[in-house]
């Protein structure tokens, strides 16, 4: 069977599965719609959390980023896993004990304030929408690349599938679909990695293969260091990202941001007990770690194969352009791989020197997708990778859409505007807001705003600088009051946005960047994407200072804090 038929078959089968689950797992109450009834097994929730968390970026882009950043790419590996340690110890168990349906609901109860709730909703919606735009784009691109349909057709197909199971089943439908999506995603990721690791090192486990020797007896990483430095690139295992300070702060921002992302936190409202919430965080991390420890192996191995195929240290061994392999031609056709014969010798020079380098474009995103082709794996593996990439994008999009929809129906409509509506009306409202959220995300998918590329900074920055600190202080301090929390959130976001926009323009419109005379990354050499941790520190400090000079928290809130700190119901 040809590749396109196989891909169609694989993607079609997974979509049929998602729809089957949607019909089986319909939500009949708000409790089922928001928290899947609150009785999901911790291992099942761990798996769903892993799918919820690992997006198209983790699946497609991360290994490619690390392949070119080398050691500097470690920030993503540590940052996007270490956040679960914070989540497991500082947030999840207590928020589960409180038993709210949404993150802003907890903030509203703890800080006895509708204003705090509205501020939290705004942060949540901005962070989630910027994040969902990336997923929508991922879905459209995956379809257009693998099934050769229009970007628009792909986007509509993907959105319709999410529409069916998210609107019908809410959190319940999303949970069971995410479990299926995790299984598909992890198989699709690990199979090519196992093949390639075995091919290069004789060890089928990629995590061990990365530390093993190649056929010629040298260690894989030593060989890679040698090859890339010979070509004028930075040494793979030591190349840093800007500076040690920047890497430190960047990692911290990603960790705090991970722990503060509402669509991830919400997943821990679906387990039955506090104990289950703690364990579930562990299982989520296990399922995430399977992919995250495989990724660096994929990175190094694909960089090695790519470099060795194209260029050899001694120029007479260079690959002749006319003899390039078929995967090279396939990716050239997509425009993601570009060759320009600068010295007209018909050979490909791939070097770290921009003036002589003839590989003018090697898009990072092709590393994971092209891997099976480069390693000469059968067509069904390539088809599986396509289905896996879609599963990653769909599962994250659904989780984010639910976070947005519940913030609108539960926090704004029920919590602030119309507390008197019945459960039935709220369930209808939650379905309608889900439809609204999908339509909005679809609109951005069709008209990706100019600022789409810079939005990851915004999503993590906002989650780190606003949501994480108020949640943590709400649990661990009885001192922080309403005024402190609101001032803290606003100043945390304010500082983060100021730094990001100062570098990249207001809402990423570059012509509006201000303070143009200041040097880039002026604050201790920290890049804007890494600024969330600084915003969080500002949030903590301001909240503490404002709380010290304003009224104490009411007695009943103190009792509430005592209650969320212990697992036992009273």
């Amino acid at each position: 069977m040809d590749l396109q038929t196989l891909t169609l078959l694989f993607v079609g089968a997974t979509f049929a599965l998602y729809i089957g689950i949607a019909i089986w797992a319909r939500a009949s109450s708000t409790r089922e719609f928001y928290v899947a009834g609150g009785n999901i097994h911790p291992i099942a929730n761990g798996m769903a959390t892993a799918a919820d968390w690992m997006s198209a970026a983790s699946f497609i882009s991360m290994a490619g980023l690390i392949a070119f950043y080398g050691y500097g790419g470690s920030i993503f590996l540590m940052g996007w896993t270490g956040g679960y340690v914070l989540l497991a110890m500082l947030l999840a168990p207590y928020l589960r004990k409180h038993g709210s349906f949404t993150v802003p609901e907890f903030i509203s109860d703890r800080y006895y304030s509708k204003t705090a709730r509205v501020v939290a909703v705004i942060c949540l919606i901005i962070a989630s929408i910027t994040y969902v735009i990336g997923q929508m784009k991922g879905i459209g691109v995956a379809f257009s690349r693998f099934l050769e349909v229009d970007y628009e057709t792909g986007l509509i197909t993907g959105m319709s599938i999410v529409f069916i199971y998210a609107v019908m089943g809410g959190m319940k439908g999303i949970t069971y679909t995410q479990i299926a999506q995790y299984v598909i995603m992890i198989i699709a990721y690990t199979i090519p990695a196992i093949f390639i690791s075995f091919m290069l090192t004789g060890n089928p486990i990629p995590q061990l293969g990365l530390g093993s020797t190649l056929a010629d007896g040298t260690y894989l990483l030593d060989k890679l260091d040698l090859i890339v430095t010979d070509l004028g690139f930075a040494e793979y295992t030591t190349q840093s990202r800007l500076s040690q300070t920047n890497m430190f702060v960047y990692t911290l921002s990603l960790m705090i941001g991970t722990a503060g992302l509402p669509h991830v936190i919400m997943r821990f409202f679906t387990v039955p007990t506090v104990k289950a919430a703690r364990e579930s965080a562990g299982w989520a991390l296990v399922f995430i770690a399977i992919l995250y420890t495989t990724a660096p192996a994929v990175s190094a191995m694909s960089r090695l194969i790519l470099t060795e195929t194209i260029d050899q240290p001694k120029a007479e061994h260079n690959l002749a352009y006319a003899e390039r392999p078929s995967w090279f031609k396939n990716w050239e056709a997509t425009g993601l791989l570009k060759f320009e014969d600068k010295n007209k010798d018909g050979l490909i020079q791939y070097t770290g020197d921009k003036t002589t380098n003839e590989m003018v474009k090697v898009d990072r995103d092709i590393m994971v997708l092209a891997n099976p082709e480069i390693a000469g794996l059968p067509n069904w593996v390539i088809a599986l990778v396509a289905a896996g990439g879609l599963a990653a994008a769909l599962s994250t999009a659904a989780g984010l859409l639910l976070a947005i929809a519940s913030a609108i129906s539960h926090d704004l409509l029920k919590g602030v505007w119309h507390p008197e509506i019945t459960e039935k009306q709220e369930l209808l409202a939650s379905r309608l807001s889900m439809i609204g959220a999908i339509a909005l995300a679809g609109y951005f998918g069709f008209h990706p705003p100019d600022f789409a590329a810079g939005t990851v900074a915004l999503a993590f920055g906002l989650a780190a600088s606003s949501i994480f600190p108020v949640l943590m202080m709400g649990i661990f301090s009885k001192k922080i009051n309403k005024e402190g929390a609101i001032a803290g959130m606003l100043s945390g976001i304010g500082v983060t946005l100021l730094y990001v926009f100062q570098h990249k323009g207001i809402m990423f419109v570059s012509s509006t960047s201000f303070l143009g005379d200041m040097s880039p990354n002026w604050f201790f050499g920290i890049e804007p994407n890494a600024f969330g941790a600084i915003g969080a520190m500002v949030n903590f400090t301001v909240a503490y200072a404002v709380s010290s000079v304003t009224a104490k928290i009411p007695k009943e809130v103190e009792a509430m804090i005592d209650n969320i700190r212990i697992p036992k119901a009273h």
């Binding site: 690390i66 050691y71 790419g73 470690s74 590996l77 540590m78 896993t81 270490g82 679960y84 340690v85 497991a88 110890m89 500082l90 168990p93 995590q207 990365l210 530390g211 093993s212 020797t213 260690y219 894989l220 990483l221 030593d222 295992t237 030591t238 040690q244 890497m247 430190f248 990692t251 911290l252 007990t273 506090v274 104990k275 703690r278 364990e279 965080a281 562990g282 991390l285 296990v286 770690a289 995250y292 420890t293 660096p296 005592d562 700190r565 212990i566 697992p567 036992k568 119901a569």
Partner: protein, 82 residues
């Protein structure tokens, strides 16, 4: 009430212990001391690089389960389990 306070103190000290390890394996071994540790090797890995791309993640997994297990024991000891 005082037993609840002791329970909370036990939780905090366990969290601090876990976060010290969390900090060491990622920020200390993976970033601050990476050059020094890279002089040592673990098979084909430079040790600092291994911590940054493998070891820290394995430790995180162990830490979360260790915390869950210990907390479960503490819950029972203070008779606050569900």
């Amino acid at each position: 009430m005082s037993s609840n306070n002791d329970y909370w103190k036990a939780n905090i000290s366990l969290i601090l212990k876990c976060l010290i390890i969390w900090f060491c394996v990622s920020y200390l071994f993976g970033i601050v001391l990476v050059e020094e540790l890279n002089n040592l090797r673990l098979g084909g890995y430079k040790l600092g690089f291994w911590f940054a791309q493998q070891g820290s993640i394995y430790t995180f997994v162990v830490l979360v389960f260790y915390y869950a297990k210990k907390m479960s024991d503490i819950d029972k000891r203070f008779n606050v389990d569900e």
